[in-house]
Symmetry: C2
Subunit: 304 residues, 2 copies
Amino acid sequence: MTIATPSFATLLTEAVQKTRSVTCVGLDPRKANLPEPMRQAIAQDRPEEWAAAYTQFCCGIIDVVAGKVPCVKPQAAFFEQLGPAGMISLGEVVRYARSKQLLVILDGKRNDIGSTATAYADAYLGADSPWQSDSLTVSPYLGQDSIEPFVDVCDQRSAGIFVLVKTSNPGGGLLQNRETDGQSVFQRVAELLTELNKPRLDSHGYGPLGAVVGATYPEELAQMRQAMPHSVILIPGFGAQGGAADDVKVGFHAGGLGAVVNSSRHIIFAYQRPEYAEKFAGNAWQRAVEAATDDMNQQLNFCE
Amino acid sequence: MTIATPSFATLLTEAVQKTRSVTCVGLDPRKANLPEPMRQAIAQDRPEEWAAAYTQFCCGIIDVVAGKVPCVKPQAAFFEQLGPAGMISLGEVVRYARSKQLLVILDGKRNDIGSTATAYADAYLGADSPWQSDSLTVSPYLGQDSIEPFVDVCDQRSAGIFVLVKTSNPGGGLLQNRETDGQSVFQRVAELLTELNKPRLDSHGYGPLGAVVGATYPEELAQMRQAMPHSVILIPGFGAQGGAADDVKVGFHAGGLGAVVNSSRHIIFAYQRPEYAEKFAGNAWQRAVEAATDDMNQQLNFCE
């Protein structure tokens, strides 16, 4: 097996070390939450206009957070909601983020079987794709043979995936927590990721198969940190969903390695939060993004 | 709870009765398998040209199968593989199929939590979407609260979803077959679908939550038919993946109701199958599609 170097995991570790930040900024544009001036600039309620506003908004965030954080996570669903115009915007946002040296984790939660999974891997991680990202979130319900086509692409180029393990929503446990002989479904997924990572480790001990484990279940996060020593963990649910700094710290290895913590609404729509709204009224939404990013970096200063 | 009528399940039942067919034609365009004249017409290897070829190919299939089958199933991944141009093509194919009175099951296997799931529902089932389909395939790993936003859209308009229950691939069992107190993960998903369907039944006894159960596991298919009396079952894995007519019959209620059987490659690329290649050489790929559809309808004549 030949593996492309530097791997995605290596690039992410280096970006964390360089920025001294473990923050991932979630790019979840929503019509209703765009800053007032952008909403008012929409002359006609057409997808193309909203898509242009999404691009402007997300690139405005990227301008502020580049250099401050290692990565951003565009949420595909909100772009897809606008139809093809939104998908063009998604490509623009991905390319702009990468041009600013931000690693892109595309949150698409895709998967399918066999050659169809290969098509998804190609669409979101492939070198020729307009959406070419550094990594993609992937759903595990279809099993190992649905994950392997993504791993093949990771081997070919410096790409990674984040497989859903234990999600942050209240209902995630319905299937994920079911135990068989003392092992839950999410523990089984974790075991699979560790197996697949083992022959693919970089010099820091990480492989291309990352994991999504929510901040809202700190005990399980600590347990998963142990169970998946080779996976970078993407931790959603911090901030708006209720997770706190102490809750997420257990997901990390020493020196702030091995995980990134996502925050979407709390950063990108910070101008709507009472603590920032007063300071940054009017057109200063980007300054609110900046302040919220700095505050989150300070709360999660695990790199010291 | 107000539920839009006629429901998707009712429309599908009526379409099955009208066409006397339980065949779902999977629209999985792939560059390498397009009929020779279409591949040769590609002047420059650009996504826009391939997307135009995908539209032409899929609409050519729709022309042939309209009136012969109740529904088609475009596979989103292959369109996404072409980038935004592919997504425009997907919209054209969906609209064309619906204009020909074919119900569209969009195979996207989407899902996410809360408002993000709503964005996906809006993107693929919403009235204003260029991809507005009659139903969408959905992954259940994130639990009940990730499925409910889709059900809300189904209540609002005549839409449906097909939730992955037991998939047709060899590795599907890794998580799906794990048992807790004698109940497997896929049985738990089935139970959930039945619960959510119960307050939403149409006059035939079907609700908006369909299920995906592969033809490659006939025993489980029979079991799932019993466990989900109110779900229409989408059965993939027939033909190219190895399922036979006897294998899928157990997925049906009397009179050919309660299920549709998908075939993709065996129908759309029938011109490459030895049994049709001889008869329909050269430009006659559409006649091969027609013959393969007629043959599948005859094999699955459960409507008599």
